[in-house]
Symmetry: C2
Subunit: 213 residues, 2 copies
DNA sequence: TATCTTGCATATGTATACATGTTCTTTCAA
DNA sequence: TTGAAAGAACATGTATACATATGCAAGATA
């Protein structure tokens, strides 16, 4: 079965990493992956290079690729960077979102209040952030955030399950952000979004610290 | 001579694009480049894929790669994105730069005042921004800015030569930014840096508008 | 026993041939 | 003259063989 193309293989590997099925340090050998996917080394090779560029893979022994390990300092930088970019997007969105988009955001808030299942709350959370992201009217900055989030996702999936107390505070933070957006107060929106991202960082870092002290 | 490796070829092509020797829309054909560099298609291919990922190349007719053309709206988004990221870095730097770094920044300011040659002022300008960038203590966010700047550079090089009036206002803006950093006023630094990047955008956009109205 | 050297195992880097897909051109018919 | 269909041309996608580099292990030598 060689219906898999380079793009396809890349997506599969990304998914495996962000879903936590492939653990940091795990080797990514061209030949082995080629046999596994039923293709030659060439498309696998291309996929691995893209992984490296996306900072999801790095070089290990014998120049081999391995799933990237991140130091705790890298994690802090990563969340700080994502927080800065997403809060910038939110500040822009506060001044640029259409009336329709604002109403959609309000609706998403309502869905979040009515939802207690962590799984589907994750979905609602993604739609909340996605609505703000597209409301900023800057595709390049949005793509930049996507890149960064790909990397935070790898951590979240491996280490983080939303608990109910986090769910409650997430709701409150979302509402505060939305209110700042409705008031078209860019700077308040920026500040609130930054601290929202920071609090999700604290949880991930906390779980990590407890796990490997 | 085939001392050139994939990395080398990538760098050469990037340089050619940002320096304006390769114009937007120019085809990048694997076979032709391979012969030109004296290597096979394989390393050229890899370089082209990296160019595409860096948004410096895109697909043209017959799936061929061409040097990326940017619409004016893209340019606006790009500078806005770069402005947000760099101003975030500057805000962080205002609170994190060491005493030594602050003195270095002051020295660079002095060099800028003493310099009237646009060429070497470009150098000083790069060192000013580089000092702030590294003073922010966030390598990931700094790398993000580098990526964006690679793309703005392609425009600047093709369309922009600093004139002396711009040089004077650039000096004044740098001094204002530095003073906000010395005062450890993150928010003022952010605001000033954002408007500094925006004014360089205005110049590029202006020249562009006069060129192809 | 410690260390340096040599050789091999392993994984990526490159070259080349062939496969695939897309566009342009030519040709034939209405 | 126009339109559609077929095929040639061109460019990338993939497979495979060979080249190169790197780390590890074994053995020789001080």
């Amino acid at each position: 079965m060689s219906n898999r193309t380079a793009e396809n293989i890349f997506d599969t590997l990304v998914d495996g990493i962000v879903a936590g099925r492939m653990t940091p340090g795990e080797p990514l050998v061209e030949q082995a992956l080629a046999e596994q996917f039923g293709v030659s080394r060439t498309p696998v090779r291309e996929a691995l290079h893209r992984l490296e560029q996306a900072n999801l893979a790095e070089r290990g022994a014998r120049r081999a690729f391995v799933v990237r390990k991140m130091a705790p300092e890298d994690l802090a930088e990563l969340f700080e960077a994502a927080g800065e970019v997403e809060s910038a997007l939110a500040a822009l969105a506060a001044n640029r979102m259409s009336e329709i988009e604002r109403r959609r955001l309000e609706a998403i808030l309502g869905e979040g209040d009515a939802c207690n299942d962590p799984q589907s709350y994750g979905d609602i959370n993604a739609r909340f952030h996605g609505t703000i992201q597209s409301g900023a009217r800057n595709g390049i900055l949005a793509a930049t955030l996507d890149e960064l989030n790909l990397r935070t996702l790898a951590w979240r999936a491996a280490n983080f399950h939303e608990d109910s107390s986090r769910l409650a505070s997430s709701r409150a933070e979302h509402r505060a952000i939305a209110q700042a957006i409705f008031a078209q107060d860019g700077e308040a929106t920026r500040r609130l979004m930054r601290s929202h991202v920071a609090s999700s960082y604290i949880i991930v870092a906390d779980i990590l610290a407890k796990r490997a002290p």
